[in-house]
């Protein structure tokens, strides 16, 4: 374990404050939705992507078709294709095994701190860049697994009076609200809400898919127009 690993570890450490309660909440919500502990842990370990896990569990407990739960979860994770692309110039020359391991452990938090570090010090050798990346995820992933487990065990004991049905919507609002920082983002969110409500009568939650596509196109179109206007 070199110093690059520990630099990454220190950069990732503050996210523990976010990941631990978030994992706990996922465990509780999954338990309330009817997943057993093995299923909850399998999802948390295989997917390690909180927002998509919440989305899939919510849709499953709404009795949406399986394919809709899967596609919505995957749609939420599409942002990671961007992360993958932007890490490639820095980590693309690593062995296939290390790239696969890095892909598995690619989450919002270690992506954010690693890409910032690589842009600041682009000349660092590949082993140091890899060590930094794995260092940054080291405080995060074990806590995500561990606190999901605690939540899954505790979740069964929480009575319905605590209105945890609403923890999922609140969590999504909390994730999205800080991202509403520009006109295209706000317009996309507005289109998403409006179309989803207007098309809520469509079968198989397919209204959400239409809403998401229209919202993405709205955001992209407005961004393009603003870029042109500013030259």
């Amino acid at each position: 374990m070199g110093s690059a690993y520990w630099q990454g570890f220190r950069a990732g450490a503050p996210f523990v404050l976010v990941v631990a309660p978030f994992g706990l909440l996922f465990g509780v919500v999954a338990a309330e939705a009817g997943l057993d502990i093995v299923q909850t842990m399998a999802m948390t370990i295989l997917v390690i992507a909180g927002a998509s896990q919440f989305a899939a569990v919510q849709l499953l407990s709404d009795n949406a078709p399986t394919i809709v739960a899967i596609l919505t979860g995957l749609a939420v994770n599409m942002r990671m294709a961007m992360y993958s692309a932007s890490l490639t110039p820095h980590l693309g020359k690593a062995s296939l095994g290390k790239r696969a391991l890095a892909a598995y452990f690619l989450v919002d938090q270690n992506y954010a701190v690693s890409i910032a570090e690589y842009e600041k010090n682009p000349a660092r050798p590949l082993p140091e860049k890899l060590a930094y990346f794995f260092g940054a995820v080291s405080p995060i992933a074990p806590l995500w697994y561990g606190f999901t487990f605690v939540g899954a065990v505790a979740g069964k004991a929480i009575p319905p009076a605590y209105a945890l049905d609403f923890a999922v919507p609140i969590t999504f609002i909390a994730i999205v609200a800080p991202a509403l920082r520009s006109l295209p983002h706000i317009a996309a969110a507005f289109v998403s809400v409006t179309v989803a409500l207007l098309l809520a009568w469509l079968p198989y939650n397919s209204g959400l898919m239409v809403a998401a596509l229209l919202a993405m196109m709205t955001g992209a179109a407005i961004e393009k127009r603003l870029e042109k206007a500013h030259g």
Partner: protein, 106 residues
């Protein structure tokens, strides 16, 4: 919701998410994503999550689908706190606090 569909969702979401993460790093090499595609991908979270949440807020399942003062105020609080402070946890705790408070008094 039956066990089979839960397991299919877990496995498909796990494999699919890994392939998304692995895509460029593992298979496509140093090629850049086309500009039009990154322009759309940037809006994925704000395009999917609000549409997923809106019906849950307007027609909450727990009240049999009737709009509910506590849940509406909680949603607005979370939106305001998250938008102003950019704190995800602050928004979650603030929203849930309003939900419990309003439920207690109504």
């Amino acid at each position: 919701m039956d066990n089979t569909s839960i397991w299919i969702t877990i496995i498909a979401l796990g494999i699919g998410t890994f392939l998304i993460r692995f895509s460029f790093l593992g298979l496509l090499g140093g090629k850049d994503l086309p500009v039009w595609l990154t322009r759309h991908l940037r809006y994925v979270p704000v395009a999917v999550l609000p549409g997923l949440v809106a019906p849950l807020v307007v027609w909450p399942a727990a009240t049999g689908g009737d709009a509910d003062l506590a849940r509406s105020l909680a949603a607005l609080t979370a939106l305001a706190i998250g938008g102003i402070t950019r704190s995800v946890l602050g928004a979650i705790f603030g929203g849930m606090a309003v939900l419990y408070t309003v439920q207690y008094f109504t």
